[in-house]
């Protein structure tokens, strides 16, 4: 079972997002970087699958050289190999990202054996294009289902589960396959100290593809307008119960 997990270096969530003066990028001076929660679950799932079925986990990221930090984090969790697809500091459009990843995966596969399963995050935590995994999978001729919160490996097949508004859907796909997963798939581990020390020394392969730009071009980023409003304080402690019930009544809930 050889699993490839695609991850992205994204600003760590926390405070208010500040923008660069020209509005084309996020001001990252005070920010740490991380792997998005969906992708962290993907790494965790791959490590667990490999522990159960054997094989290896490869993590791959497209981004600036600094994305090495995220690869090493995944390695410290227990992934076996890291591949850095260097695409520069500027964020690529989703088509360009997909072509870069596709080219890199083909290169890695051509030198070894094809992966059995590709895992993506359902959408990246920052740009959230909802399509890179699909584009890569289609280019590689793999089936892919998104929103996955459960994976069962069968013989030559994989069973994929996802939540929908009114219940749960279970999909079946032949291997090799791909899935775009969501947080909740598992509870990712914290890297152990040994894992961190090992990850620090692990070799990371670098690939520099030539992505072809697509049709979506970012002009600028901006903060969403904040609604001007006053918060009505209904009261303090238990004394506020009556006005709260009034609000419920107004909404027709009691």
């Amino acid at each position: 079972m050889d699993v490839l997990v695609c991850i992205k270096r994204v600003p760590a969530p926390g405070g208010k997002v500040l923008l660069s003066a020209d509005g084309t990028s996020i001001d990252t001076r005070h920010l740490g970087f991380t792997i998005g929660p969906h992708e962290e679950c993907a790494v965790e799932e791959a490590i667990r699958m490999v522990a159960e079925h054997g094989g290896s986990t490869t993590v791959l990221t497209a981004g600036p050289p600094e994305a090495d930090e995220q690869l090493r984090y995944a390695l410290s969790m227990g992934a076996d190999h890291g591949v850095l697809v260097e695409t520069g500091a500027r964020e690529l459009d989703p088509q360009a990202t997909a072509t870069a990843l596709t080219e890199a995966i083909r290169m890695v596969e051509s030198e070894g054996k094809p992966f059995d399963l590709l895992l993506f995050g359902n959408e990246t935590a920052d740009a959230g294009h909802y399509q890179v995994g699909v584009r890569v999978s289609r280019a590689l001729g793999l089936p892919i289902v998104g929103g996955i919160k459960g994976i069962e490996i069968g013989t030559g097949r994989v069973s994929l589960e996802r939540d929908v508004a009114d219940g749960v859907e279970v999909y079946d796909a032949p291997l090799p396959a791909a899935a775009a997963v969501k947080e909740g798939l598992n509870l990712p581990r914290y890297p152990s100290i040994k894992g961190r020390l090992r990850a620090k020394k692990a070799p990371v392969r670098t690939i520099r593809p030539e992505p072809s730009p697509g049709g979506l071009r970012t002009v600028r980023l901006r903060q969403p307008p904040e609604k001007e409003h006053e918060t009505v304080v209904l009261g303090y402690g238990a004394e506020a119960a009556d006005p709260v019930v009034d609000v419920l009544a107004e909404k027709g809930l009691v």
Partner: protein, 323 residues
């Protein structure tokens, strides 16, 4: 020609799809294009529901292979329909399925796709605004290509009817069989049953750090039950193991659209805010009057969650008993 993918809701066209139709009509009018719609595996009479909105033609994609949802096959079929009809733009609501379908179609057709748009201006390229990070940031972008695909965040456009109503031509579209294309199939589907879904509940009672423990959610559950709502939680509650991830409201959890959101002991990080900002009214209960969610809420109660909810429950129960 522009094409809108419409989803079905209770036998008619879903509100989110009507928003996409409205948006597409403005785009079509602005550029003098014809407006078509397409539906997969429809059961109800969608044509009637579209006649007031300026749609001239409805394509019903029908084949054995596309009767059940398969992201890859539906996407390929949509790409084929786009090729067949010669449309230059495709819109859909940015539901999980809408995004997945457009992503697959865009991949099949090798055309650009802008997901989660909140506004699109007519012209070429399309000048659009899309959400990043679930709405933490807005991105102004240009979308250019032979065929442009975009999904629209529900709630971004006011649904409006066209000035004239006319009959919708219904055409069946039978896509080519793609038996050899690797694809997934739905093999099982379980319904939630009687429970209220977090995404669609009218009222959500949600808890965070201030609830203090898994047991601390008891009054939240009781209140949700009494009000006919669902229980939600913040990421802190999930991470502490107090609630399952399926209850999580926020960027990486569920985005809600409730009439009332009662946030108990949730300070309101941006990642949480984008999950609950779709609620009509927000009531925040928090000991910290300066918590971000208190500042953004419509109503606030300053105090301890257990103390406040205890008193509220007492009164709600009393009302129930009296009624």
């Amino acid at each position: 020609m522009l094409l809108v993918i419409v989803e079905e809701d209770a036998g008619g066209v879903s509100a989110a799809s009507l928003e996409a139709v409205t948006c597409a009509r403005h785009l079509a009018e602005g550029t003098g294009l014809d407006l078509h719609a397409a539906a997969f595996g429809a059961h109800g009479d969608l044509a009637a529901g579209l006649s007031k909105y300026g749609v001239s033609t409805l394509h019903l994609v029908t084949s054995d292979a596309t009767q059940e949802y398969s992201p890859e096959l539906w996407g390929a079929a949509l790409a084929e329909l786009v090729e067949h009809t010669g449309v230059t733009g495709v819109l859909a609501a940015s539901t999980d399925r809408g995004n997945e379908l457009l992503a697959n179609a865009a991949a099949s057709a090798d055309q650009p796709f802008a997901s989660n748009c909140v506004a699109i201006e007519p012209g070429d390229p399309w000048n659009l605004t899309r959400q990043r990070g679930g709405g933490i940031l807005l991105e102004d972008a240009e979308l250019s290509g032979r065929v442009k695909l975009a999904s629209l965040v529900p709630g971004s456009v006011e649904i409006s009817e066209a000035t004239t109503t006319h009959e919708v031509d219904v055409l069946e579209f039978v896509p080519a069989p793609r038996a050899t294309m690797p694809h997934s199939v739905i093999v099982d589907r379980t319904s939630r049953g009687s429970g209220v879904s977090l995404a669609t509940a009218r009222v959500v009672v949600s808890g965070g750090r201030g609830v203090g423990s898994a047991e601390g959610f008891a009054p939240l559950e009781e209140l949700a039950e009494l009000l006919g709502g669902a229980v939600g939680c913040s990421r802190v509650a999930t991470n502490n193991g107090w609630r399952s991830h399926s209850d999580q409201v926020g960027l990486t959890g569920t985005k809600i659209g409730a009439e009332l959101y009662i946030a108990c002991g949730i300070s309101g990080a941006t990642q949480h805010w984008v999950g609950c900002m779709g609620a009509k009214t927000i009531l925040a209960i928090n000991t910290d009057p300066e918590a971000p969610l208190v500042a953004r809420a419509d109503y606030a109660v300053i105090g301890d969650v257990q103390e406040v909810l205890g008193a509220v429950l007492e009164r709600v129960r009393a009302r129930r008993a009296a009624a």
